[in-house]
Symmetry: C2
Subunit: 319 residues, 2 copies
C-alpha cells in the first residue's frame, strides 16, 4: 500500500482510494480470487453463514468519539460476532464504504486498516468491497462463514432446565457512551468499550459443540435473551446477583447517580455471546452462568424471577 | 406479510419493519436458515462468489425520479450482475437498509419487494438483512453465488485476437438520466432504463463456458473495457460502427443536440455483460460482436482504432 497522503477522497478519486485500501498481503488461503474483479471467490465448506450490518455516522458513531480505525474494527466486529453466535468461523468480509468527497483520504485508509485488523482477530480477511460517495460516512460489512460441522447454533434450541450463560463483557459499551455523552473522555476502559468491542470469536466456535441456543448481545441482554426466548418458546430467568458489578461500571454509575445494572441489562454493542446449555454439560471456557431457562410465562425474560420494568433494548427507529 | 400501513418507520419501529419486509414464502431451496437468526445459512457448491454494492439517495437515485420498487430492483441488479459477470449463479442476497425515521413505512416495504422481485429474476432470494436509522436512504446489497464448474470468468483472460462482444443495452440508463436531469419524464423507455436495468443474468452463466474474460458495464463501456484490458494486459479496440444507434437514443440525442455515442461509450448502470471470446468460438445467444482484442498499446481501449477523447466513465469522488 502507498501512503494515504494528506488530501481528500475528491483529490484521490474512487480508483485511487481502492488502490490504497486493498492489501493483498493480508488475504488468507480461503481467498481464491481477491479484490480487483467483479466479485471475490472464497473457498467454503458447503453451507455458508451470511450476515450484514451497517454503521452510520451520527447514528452508530461520531468522528470526535471514535477514530477511523475504531469505526472499522467495530463495523467488522458486528458481523464477525453474528457468525460466531451461530458457532461458525468467518472466512471473508466484503465492505461497502460510503463517504463525502471531502473526507480525508487518510480516514478511509485507516478505517480499512481497522476492518482488516478486526477480521484478522477472527482468522478472516477483507476479500472485496465497493466505495461510493455518500452525504455521511456509512460502513456496511457482510461476513460469510463456514457453519460448524454439527450445524449452526440457532436461537430456537433452548429448553426449560437449560443453563443461561454468557461470554464477554456486557453493559460496558453503554456505560462508555454515557461517559462520552456527558462530555468526558474517561474512565478509559469504558470509553474504549464504546469505541469497539472485544469479542471472543473462538468461544463461539467452541460453544457450537454444546450450546442449545446462542445469540450475540447487540441490542441488550434482556432484548437478546428475549430473542432466544421467543424463538425457543421458553422464558429466560436472569439471576442478576450471579455477577459482580465491575468496578469501572460501579464507579461511573455512582458518579452519575444511575443504576449500573440498567447498563448491564439493556446496553447493546458489546457483542458478548449469550447461550443456553444443557445442565448436564460443562460450560465452555469463557462462559459463566447467569440464569436458567424455564417454561414459557407471560414474559420472555425475567430478572430474579420478576418482569423487568426498565425497558429492553434499542429500536433503531424509535427514541 | 401485513399491510405496510400509512405511518412512518418511527411509528412502525425497527422490529415492526423487519416483520413486514421478511417474506419466508419467497425463499428458495438453497436457504437452509432464513431471516430471523443471527445469520442466514445458504447451501452452496463449495467455492463462493461474493460481491457488495451500495446505493445512496441523492447520489445514485432520487425519490422523485425512482419509486421504492425501482430502487430495490436496481440495488439488487448491481450485485446480481457482478455474479453473472463471473459466469456465476446467485444463490442469495443479504441487504442492509438505512433510512430516516420519518420515511414512510410503505416506501421501505416496497423497496424490499423490489429487491425480492429482481432477485427472483436471477433465481435467487433475499435471505437476511439489517435495518438501521440513517440521515438519508442507503441500500447495501451483498450477493453470494456458486462459481461455474470450470471456474469463474475473470477480467484477466482476454487475449490478442479475441472477439469483444456485449449482451444487453448500453447507454440507455445514461440517456434516461439526461432526460430526467432536463426535467422531462419521457421517452419512457429511456427513463425506465434509468430506474432499473434489465440484465440477462442467464447469459452470464451461458457465457461462462466460452468467454475468456467478462465484466458487467457499470462504470461505462470504455471504462469497463479498460478494466478487462488492464487486467489482461491487452488493448480492446471497439468498432463503434458495429451497432446501430437505437431510435430512442438517436431522437433524444438530436433533441438535446448531443452525440448519442457518448452515452453509449461512457454511460454506466445498464449492467450489460461485456466479454471476450476466442475467434474460433460461436458467440453465446444474446451477445453480439463490437470489437477485437489487440496487443497492448499506449491506450487500454481504442474506438475505431483511435484513442477516445470523451472521457471514460464515472468516478464516485470526482465531478
Amino acid at each position: 500500500m502507498d501512503e494515504p497522503g494528506t488530501g481528500t477522497l475528491a483529490e484521490l478519486g474512487e480508483f485511487g482510494l481502492i488502490e490504497r485500501i486493498v492489501d493483498p498481503s493480508g488475504l488468507t488461503d480461503a481467498i481464491v480470487v481477491g479484490p480487483g474483479d467483479d466479485t471475490a471467490l472464497v473457498r467454503m465448506s458447503g453451507e455458508v453463514l451470511i450476515t450484514t450490518d451497517m454503521l452510520v455516522e451520527g447514528v452508530h458513531f461520531r468522528q470526535d468519539w471514535s477514530s477511523a480505525i475504531d469505526v472499522g474494527r467495530r463495523a467488522a466486529a458486528a458481523s464477525l460476532a453474528d457468525i460466531a453466535a451461530m458457532g461458525g468461523s468467518t472466512r471473508a468480509l466484503v465492505v461497502s464504504f460510503g463517504a463525502p468527497p471531502s473526507t480525508p483520504s487518510a480516514w478511509a485508509v485507516a478505517c480499512a486498516a481497522g476492518l482488516r485488523e478486526e477480521a484478522a482477530t477472527a482468522g478472516a480477511c477483507v476479500a472485496g468491497g465497493d466505495v461510493v460517495s455518500s452525504p455521511s460516512i456509512v460502513v456496511c460489512v457482510t461476513a460469510i462463514g463456514d457453519a460448524p460441522a454439527g450445524g449452526p447454533v440457532l436461537r430456537s434450541g433452548a429448553k426449560a432446565g437449560d443453563v443461561v450463560a454468557i461470554c464477554g463483557r456486557f453493559g460496558w459499551a453503554a456505560a462508555g457512551l454515557a461517559v462520552l455523552s456527558r462530555g468526558f473522555k474517561s474512565p478509559r476502559a469504558l470509553v474504549d468499550a464504546h469505541r469497539f468491542p472485544e469479542v471472543n470469536y473462538a468461544a463461539g466456535v467452541a460453544a457450537a459443540k454444546g450450546a442449545s441456543a446462542m445469540i450475540d448481545v447487540s441490542d441488550g441482554l434482556i432484548a437478546d435473551a428475549g430473542h432466544i426466548a421467543d424463538a425457543s418458546d421458553v422464558t429466560l430467568d436472569i439471576d442478576a446477583a450471579s455477577w459482580e458489578i465491575p468496578d469501572a461500571l460501579a464507579s461511573a454509575a455512582a458518579a452519575y447517580n444511575v443504576d449500573p445494572r440498567v447498563w448491564m441489562l439493556t446496553g447493546g454493542d458489546d457483542h458478548a455471546l449469550l447461550a443456553t446449555f444443557s445442565p448436564r454439560k460443562k460450560l465452555p471456557e469463557g462462559f459463566f452462568r447467569i440464569g436458567i431457562v424455564v417454561k414459557r410465562t407471560d414474559d420472555p425474560v425475567l430478572v430474579n424471577g420478576q418482569p423487568f420494568a426498565g425497558g429492553s433494548g434499542y429500536d433503531h427507529f424509535k427514541d
